[in-house]
């Protein structure tokens, strides 16, 4: 058709023609796509360094086309600190799952937020350990089964799911904390906007921004991709309400 324009296509920041290794419906795929769109729109892809954790969050090493640092499990926030301190004019983000950020990496994650490092942190919360086969995460819901909590998470044995945005909200330094999801087109747009703000804050030298994105894990939840969306809405979003927890971006 003569007048038609291509109004949506896959971001150029992903290696052309490459299919990712993520499961069907996995929102890591969605989020990496959105990050890429944001980097293109802000024209910063060629000065961006990603610091990725270990887990499913670390599965895009052969997928994205801008600088990629594979970090030790839990340490991406510390690595990102090191990168940014050495190259402050570059854009540095860490990309971490719930185990990486809130279990093994808890100290590094909170310390980087507390120091107010001028980085962007993408925290992907699907309430389970994906890559290693479905073990319990710090954010696993009460009653939710995991391979290491086969009867389901019990408060008296395992404690309660951790609310990271709210935890970080007790610190003075962080500038922007928002929790979003990718379960509907509207929420995908909100996630992209949040990611964009989190990167813009870094460009503007504002300080530490984190976007917590509540996602599904069809494979380890034992549900189809579509059924996982229902579980996410009915359960995950009740435990982890979406919204802005803190936004001092304009201050």
């Amino acid at each position: 058709m003569a007048d038609e324009k291509l109004i949506y296509t896959k971001t150029k920041t992903i290696q052309p023609g490459k299919s990712s290794g993520f499961c069907p419906g996995c929102m890591h795929d969605t989020i990496i796509k959105l990050i890429g769109e944001v980097l293109e729109e802000l024209d910063i892809a060629d000065k961006t360094v990603s610091c990725t954790g270990v887990g499913c969050c670390g599965l895009f090493m052969e997928y994205i086309d801008y600088d990629y640092i594979q970090c030790a499990h839990g340490r991406a926030s510390a690595v990102a600190t090191g990168v940014k301190r050495g190259n402050p004019d570059k854009i540095v983000y860490s990309y971490q799952g719930d185990g990486d950020f809130a279990s093994i990496g808890f100290a590094e994650s909170v310390a980087a937020a507390n120091r107010g490092e001028n980085i962007t942190v993408i925290f992907v919360n699907n309430g389970i350990y994906g890559m290693t086969g479905g073990q319990m995460a710090p954010t696993t819901l009460l009653g939710m089964k995991a391979t290491t909590a086969p009867k389901g998470r019990k408060a008296e044995e395992h404690g309660y799911p951790m609310h990271i945005c709210e935890l970080l909200d007790t610190l003075t330094a962080p500038v922007y904390l928002e929790r979003t999801s990718c379960n509907t087109p509207a929420n995908v747009i909100k996630t992209k906007n949040a990611i964009k703000k989190a990167f813009q804050n870094q460009i503007d030298g504002k300080g530490y921004s984190l976007v917590e994105i509540v996602t599904s894990c069809p494979t380890n939840w034992g549900l189809s991709a579509l059924d996982s969306l229902d579980f996410l809405e009915e359960n995950m979003l009740k435990e982890f309400p979406l919204g802005v927890i803190r936004d001092n971006s304009d201050k």
Binding site: L6, T30, C182, T184, P185, L226
Partner: protein
């Protein structure tokens, strides 16, 4: 006038695009790509170019033309 184009080799048949299309343009088809996924296809001409499908698609397998 709008239409979508599915990049067959990137489609993972998750069904998000089918669920969220307001005009029921999309459905899981019968063609299988090299990874074994049944590729999504357009089944009518009612696309309005809202891009809901393309936004939801984790794999970036949808090009939208308007």
């Amino acid at each position: 006038m709008a239409r979508v184009e599915i990049v067959a080799e990137l489609c993972k048949s998750c069904g998000y695009c089918v669920k969220f299309c307001p005009k029921n343009v999309l459905a899981i088809g019968k063609t299988v790509n090299s990874k074994g996924y049944e590729v999504v296809e357009s089944v009518n001409d009612d696309c309005v170019g809202c891009c809901s499908c393309a936004r939801m698609c984790p794999a970036g397998a949808i090009n939208v033309y308007k």
